[in-house]
């Protein structure tokens, strides 16, 4: 009996207008706070801190219960209840649809340069994983997690620990926003850094190249020729090449596929390359270690990235989002990766052409579109307001990278779409009927 009264009262509260008003206000306040977080920081933080927070979920669940019980409370419905029922059912359906989208849908992006092809998309979650390599190209995944460093910042006192059987790695710091700077520190028994100048009658270029210790060689193209830094094992396969072998302080000049010239290298050494009229001048070369430095920023900007500080066997190093870092212990080598989640979509898109239509006589974009080839045969155009539907996925033209002429597509799969649309229709129709019939 007593129980019943309590339950009844509780049910009354759940279906009360009081709770409705409280819920509406809470939802409004939380959402509003989110926009300020986004404006000061970015959407990523706003999503984690506000829009997808526990508080938001609690309010939304309460809101849905409130809406459901208010409708149950009116049961059996009469004709006059119909506008009320329709409008509130509409809201419930939109919430359910959004839940389905959030839980089972995918929302990623695909960046394609001309002639590039891809069959995977990049998603928002950031994945931390560790691979172990066993010699030539064989890897096995030892660890995988989706840590939310933005909410729980690791520190030296409370690190995030990755257990790798007998050994372990620790994440000891995290900068949500940081600026990256690469510096080279002189250090014996490490990689080789070269500063050199290429000059000719037309142009003059100061450059630097770096070969990491574990690489046999690095190769970079300058005009029609290559410059190679090698440990001595490199065999030329190009027509024109300058091969620098710092360990032996030697160089080889390859012209028309044959070694034409060889000699020693030293600071200030000039070599007539014979390609056009270019002269190679060695300014300096020494052994150095490549170090990534990160300065923390208060707020993000277009150039900032997130960075992790990793500790392994007493040694600490930094890495940024979407990069790899390799570690070597006595008997194993590990690769730590911190990347946005990738997902294969089961079909391949190749960008044939990306075009920007501009307003006459100006740089202002009027329209942009991508001509893509789907799975090697069908060729279609994706433009703004004209998405492509294929295999359950929808591909939208979402933006472009003007500097590198790449097209950015947003790719998604949304199982909640129909329910959301139907809910929207019910909500609008319900409100219309409610207001048409009566004033407050």
């Amino acid at each position: 009996m007593f129980n019943k009264i309590i339950n009844f009262k509780f049910l009354k509260f759940l279906s009360s207008l009081k709770l409705a008003v409280i819920n509406i206000l809470l939802l409004g306040v939380i959402s509003a706070v989110g926009t300020f977080v986004e404006s000061y920081y970015d959407l990523y933080l706003a999503q984690h801190l506000v829009y997808q927070s526990v508080w938001m979920k609690i309010v939304l669940v309460l809101f849905s219960i409130n809406l459901l019980s208010v409708m149950v409370d009116r049961w059996p419905w009469k004709r006059r209840h119909m506008p009320f029922v329709t409008a509130h059912l509409g809201i419930i359906m939109i919430i359910i649809g959004s839940f389905l989208t959030g839980e089972f849908g995918m929302d990623g992006s695909m960046r394609l340069e001309p002639e590039e092809q891809s069959s995977s998309i990049v998603l928002n979650p950031r994945i931390l994983s560790v691979y172990s390599s066993f010699g030539e190209g064989s890897f096995s995944e030892l660890y995988k997690d989706q840590p939310k460093f933005i909410l729980n910042r690791p520190s030296a006192q409370s690190p995030y620990t990755i257990s790798l059987g007998t050994e372990f790695m620790e994440i000891v710091d995290y900068y949500p926003y940081a600026r990256e700077k690469i510096i080279f520190q002189r250090k014996p028994k490490s990689g080789w850094l070269f500063h050199f100048k290429l000059s000719g009658t037309r142009a003059q270029e100061l450059s630097q190249m770096y070969k990491m210790k574990r690489d046999a060689f690095v190769k970079q193209q300058f005009g029609l020729a290559h410059i190679v830094i090698s440990d001595g094992s490199y065999k030329s396969s190009e027509r024109n090449e300058l091969i620098l072998i710092p360990a032996k302080a030697m160089y080889q000049l390859v012209q028309q596929g044959k070694v034409r010239q060889a000699g020693s290298i030293y600071k200030g050494k000039k070599i007539q390359t014979g390609w056009m009229d270019l002269t190679f001048e060695l300014i300096d070369f020494y052994q150095a270690e490549k170090v990534y430095q990160f300065t923390p920023l208060k707020r993000p900007d277009d150039n900032s990235t997130s960075a992790l500080k990793v500790r392994f066997q007493g040694k600490e190093s930094w890495m940024k989002l979407n990069s790899f870092l390799s570690f070597y212990s006595k008997d194993a080598s590990y690769t730590l990766s911190y990347m946005n989640q990738r997902k294969s979509i089961g079909s391949t898109l190749k960008l044939i052409k990306f075009q920007i239509d501009r307003y006459q006589g100006s740089q202002k974009a009027k329209e942009y579109s991508s001509v893509v080839q789907v799975d090697g045969h069908k060729t279609v155009t994706i433009s703004m307001n004209e998405p492509l539907k294929h295999n359950g996925w929808t591909f939208y033209q979402s933006g472009f990278d003007e500097v590198q002429t790449a097209s950015i597509l947003s790719v998604n799969y949304d199982p909640g779409r129909f329910i959301k649309y139907f809910g929207s229709f019910l909500l609008v129709a319900g409100i219309f009927a409610l207001f048409y019939r009566k004033r407050l």
């Binding site: 509406i24 989208t101 707020r299 277009d302 006589g361 929808t394 947003s410 909500l427």
Partner: protein, 540 residues
């Protein structure tokens, strides 16, 4: 490097100017002061030259529009002799070197450049030879390279740079485009510097006829030269002339004056019953202005803050007309009159903050269907809530004055709130569907959509609180004042305060202190109302 170029430009005559025969009494021998021409002549010359089509800002527009926009951009204000200014920039730039006409708004910038803080305009020489300016430009470029978010100081430096750049481009004959290009696949028009042969002569003829006309010569020659020039451009006169007509008519200024007259007439018992005459006149001109703007741009006028300030009051008046048709009282018309006056007055006077240019649409907005459903509907909900806000003000004011309240007034308030909630829901959901259709995102927590939701929730809380009996009619009036601040945030705040998100095409800066003052004054007003507490009885 760029800097040197700018300076150099001032010592090199524009290529066209060199072609002009320097005869006796030609423009070249005059100083700028001598070139101040009489008002009557200005009007005549403006109308002759104004109708020449040029290409600038991504579309073909009359030279009239181009000159107005350029002068407003560089000088910061409108100027009746705008055409004369632009043409003499081109013909006798050396005369302008020492003339103070380049606008710098912020005192902070003037201080940093070591310029007089009392002045608002400076000469090209003063700025370009300024070592501090060169240093600040260097600083700006470093920030740009690092893609840092610019603060208001560097935004102002950037504006100054764009003023100088536009002036320089005009002086060097690189802007605007004067004649169509005959190269296949290119839609770029040829600028003064690129013209050759008969085309070049035609333009030079116009300029020399112009300088003779300024000297008191015949305008007949000028008309002939202009007509000859137009035979090369092959643009239909009709649209160009309509735009010139729109520019010179200033329909929205005329209509806010009419709206104001109508509101003033309400204060006098003798004229009170005739208030609808100036209101109707204002509405007709307002409608005409919107129609002209839509015709010229071939789209509904809702692409930025300025255009919504034209559309929102118009829709408010239409909504109130429908209401008056149901219940015949002048109350909704009066409130709509206030909305119309306020919006159009702001749109006309805040021209340094708002962008009143006729600009082509951003790529994302290029869908007339969605633009005229989602955007029109969502801004119409602002109209309804604006009406509710003014009605709330009005009712609270009557309360403060101890006057009796009419039930009719509350009927209108409720109805207008309902209309607003319906339109805002429909508009927001249509926006979600558009976003889903175009970018695959039904709801992406974009600030503009979040604030539309927050406003909607605010009004829903209000209506439900009324239903629950927590508030009564009077609470609804106060609530519609408070909730309108959410609409102000969604309408103005997201674009001008938060400044982030997908709706970035509508962004601007400035005006924050005015809007804040407007809101704070209302809080003081509400405090006074709250102190009085006791609710007066209804009439009848």
């Amino acid at each position: 490097m760029n800097f040197l170029k700018i300076i150099l430009a001032f010592f090199v005559y524009s290529s066209v100017a060199q072609d002009i025969p320097v005869g006796e009494g030609s423009a070249k021998e005059k100083t700028v002061q001598d070139l101040q021409i009489s008002k009557s002549k200005t009007g005549e010359l403006n109308s002759i030259l104004g109708s020449i089509p040029v290409q600038a800002g991504g579309r073909i527009k009359p030279f009239d529009t181009f000159a107005r926009e350029s002068v407003k951009h560089i000088y910061g204000k409108r100027k009746s002799s705008y055409i004369h200014w632009v043409i003499t920039w081109l013909l006798i730039p050396e005369e302008w070197m020492n003339k103070s006409f380049i606008w710098i708004e912020k005192a902070q910038v003037k201080k940093a450049l070591g310029l007089s803080e009392k002045e608002s305009h400076f000469s090209p020489l003063e700025i370009l030879s300024n070592k501090n300016f060169q240093r600040e430009m260097g600083e700006l470029n470093i920030r740009r390279e690092q893609r840092e978010k610019l603060n208001s100081y560097f935004l102002e430096i950037e504006k100054l740079e764009s003023r100088l750049a536009l002036y320089q481009a005009i002086v060097e004959g690189r802007f605007p485009g004067w004649m169509p290009n005959h190269v296949e696949g290119s839609t770029d028009w040829l600028t003064a510097g690129q013209l050759s042969g008969a085309q070049r002569t035609a333009l030079a003829d116009v300029f020399s006829a112009y300088s003779r006309a300024v000297d008191g010569g015949d305008t007949q020659n000028l008309k002939q030269a202009v007509n000859h020039l137009k035979t090369f451009t092959k643009v239909s006169d009709q649209k160009i002339n309509i735009e010139v007509h729109y520019n010179s008519l200033k329909p929205f200024r005329i209509s806010w004056i009419f709206y104001l007259i109508s509101l003033i007439s309400l204060l006098f018992v003798r004229f009170r019953n005739y208030f609808f005459i100036p209101l109707g006149a204002g509405f007709l001109i307002h409608t005409y202005g919107i129609a002209l703007r839509s015709y010229i741009m071939e789209r509904p006028p809702v692409s930025n803050m300025f255009e919504t300030l034209l559309w929102v009051p118009w829709a408010a008046l239409v909504i109130s007309l429908v209401m008056v048709w149901i219940r015949k009282t002048r109350f909704p018309l009066v409130t709509a009159g206030v909305v119309c006056f306020l919006c159009l007055f702001v749109s006309d006077t805040a021209s340094s903050i708002l962008n009143d240019q006729l600009e082509p649409l951003e790529a994302v907005l290029r869908s007339n269907f969605w633009l005229s459903t989602h955007v029109l509907i969502i801004t119409m909900s602002y109209s309804a809530f604006f009406l509710a806000f003014i009605m709330g003000d009005f009712l609270a004011f009557r309360f403060l004055m101890g006057q009796k309240q009419s039930k009719n007034h509350f009927w209108f308030l409720q109805r207008v709130l309902q209309v607003g909630v319906f339109l805002l829901t429909l508009g927001t959901l249509l926006g979600a569907i558009w976003a889903d259709y175009s970018w695959g995102r039904f709801w992406g927590w974009d600030p503009k959509e979040v604030w539309a939701l927050v406003s909607l929730l605010g009004y829903l809380a209000l209506l439900h609180a009324k239903l629950q009996g927590w508030i009564r009619e009077f609470g609804l009036a106060i609530g519609s004042i408070l909730s309108f601040f959410l609409i102000i945030m969604a309408w103005y705040g997201v674009n001008f305060v938060l400044g982030k998100g997908l709706h970035s095409y509508g962004f601007g800066t400035g005006g924050f202190s005015y809007v804040l003052a407007f809101v704070l004054i209302h809080f003081v007003f509400l405090y006074l109302v709250w102190r009085k507490k006791k609710f007066p009885p209804f009439e009848g």
